[in-house]
Subunit: 320 residues, 2 copies
């Protein structure tokens, strides 16, 4: 059996099932971040993401190189962006997706480690731009860059590991959705097909505002697509979901295009927050225009349907 046959989530499930942890691990594999015992009032949050040239971003043109396209399923158009800022954007994204994970737990990031695999003939200028993208975002969110690893590699690889904390009372897991909860989403979806997916601002401020002012039941960041990330919530919460397709907020960048709704439902890397709260709380949040109600949690059936009862296909971006 090849791993492409079992798929990314099959593989993660398999690894998770075989992994035992001690009682200082509040949550191990299977949420946006790991949750670890820390102090009386706080937990540590611990997460990592790996980005690879040709998979998460196209080969960026080095100062002296001609731009080569090497698009794969997840690679987005970068033609709008000047070559000089592409390395900056790649660095930015590599940290931003980790911040998004910590935001979705209700926490704040604090320390990061940066591992990079660099082609030896890369211009120093390009490496500086890459780090500049990481550090600019790190400064903006008061994250300390405290170390890392640099190795040589044929293709550009970036792995960032982020450590943060969360007040115990603020921790929001995927598994807390309750029957009749409203399902909400921040911002617009589907726009990641454009360059936006490399320089998005993770919804940390928004998540902090939400957990400080409302009682949320479950939360995840949208990295695999609305449908698949909603599926993570209902699966872990042992519930089902009804999605109001007409309420799904589609990015103005793609609204006029064919297949826009499909892109909003299944396109990954929006990095918006998807969360649930009681109907009443959901309405308050929606009234303040902090997020939009796009559905409701139903009794356990492990499936997602539209308002007219049609079962929606659970499918999004899988890495294999």
């Amino acid at each position: 059996m090849k791993i492409e046959q079992i798929g990314e989530f099959g593989l993660i499930d398999k690894i998770a099932r075989q992994t035992k942890t001690d009682r200082t691990v509040i949550k191990g594999i299977g949420d946006d971040t790991a949750v670890l015992k820390y102090s009386n009032k706080e937990y540590l949050l611990f997460t990592t993401d790996m980005l690879l040239e040709g998979v998460h971003f196209p080969k960026p043109p080095d100062t002296s190189q001609v731009y080569e396209t090497s698009f794969t399923c997840e690679v987005k158009k970068m033609s709008e962006v000047s070559p000089r800022s592409r390395f900056f954007n790649i660095g930015w994204k590599s940290l931003a997706c980790n911040i998004s994970d910590i935001a979705a737990m209700g926490g704040v990031p604090q320390y990061c480690l940066i591992s990079v695999g660099l082609p030896p003939n890369l211009e120093l200028k390009s490496v500086n731009q890459l780090y500049s993208g990481i550090k600019t975002l790190a400064r903006q969110f008061k994250i300390n860059v405290v170390g890392g690893d640099t190795i040589k590699s044929g293709k550009l690889i970036i792995n960032i590991c982020l450590l943060g904390k969360v007040k115990k009372k603020d921790l929001i897991l995927r598994s807390g959705a309750r029957k009749e909860d409203a399902i909400l989403v921040t911002g617009n979806l589907g726009g990641s097909i454009s360059e936006k997916n490399l320089n998005f601002t993770p919804r940390l401020k928004e998540a902090q505002y939400l957990v400080n002012n409302f009682k949320l039941h479950s939360m995840i960041d949208i990295s695999d697509g609305l449908i698949l990330d909603l599926y993570h919530i209902i699966k872990d919460s042992r519930k089902g979901a009804r999605l109001y397709l007409k309420e799904v907020p589609i990015s103005p960048l793609i609204k006029h295009k064919k297949g826009a709704l499909k892109q909003a439902l299944y396109g990954g890397e929006d990095f918006e927050l998807l969360f649930t709260a009681s109907k009443r709380t959901g309405q308050k949040i929606a009234a303040q225009k902090l997020a939009r109600i796009v559905g409701e949690i139903t009794a356990k059936n492990n499936s997602i349907e539209s308002s007219d009862g049609t079962k929606l296909n659970i499918d999004g971006y899988q890495h294999f």
Copy 2:
């Protein structure tokens, strides 16, 4: 300017100089691990290492594949090992080198995240062996595997991030070496040219015994080679060193071979502990056969010489 011209340590120095951290960071870039504020009595230790096929290990033969050699400067012979255990060993090594870093700070590891880049046509069996290597070592040292990331990749990539802690009184930095300190090393050097470098046992127990029973002044694990890692100590401590070349413990695996001393001095990946302590303490440690005295710290001159005053070339494995 290309990064191969500036070199790995030039690049790390450059990144470190440009990186500002707040006062919760006790030690950022530039030691075996980052040291972070935690509780009254303890610090957090935070470290990461990236291993790449063709750089840190040769392409391992998948169950159905013929073994291809793709040796580079750091790749070691694997012919002694059965194909089935090669993925196990690669997994083992990827965690072991991180544990070694935490050991060299005087601390203990607790939690790890595993990022892997996997070729989609890899056999599931091989992936299981890889994880089995990581988890077997994790169990042995009571480390919780709490998450990670899996992506597809042309070549096998593993990045492990390890979080641990250290009692404040036990923390040993590279920068604490004092004039007239004895320089000590555990175990034997130069043997990593053989398969050993993939399944070595990190010196965690040894390091814990040392910090609990003796006052050490500085410590590092030997990953870049005795000379280069000793250079890291004297540079950060603003001292010099005299090395007793006849006392350098050479691995029995290479002792009879030509260039054995050179290999022991400059070969990387021994993952033994290199540390300094007062002459008196050093003698006690040596008397208990816990480590061997291989030299002494001299007044500041930023260079390493042999007993007869010959300056030794500072050179080891650099990644670029």
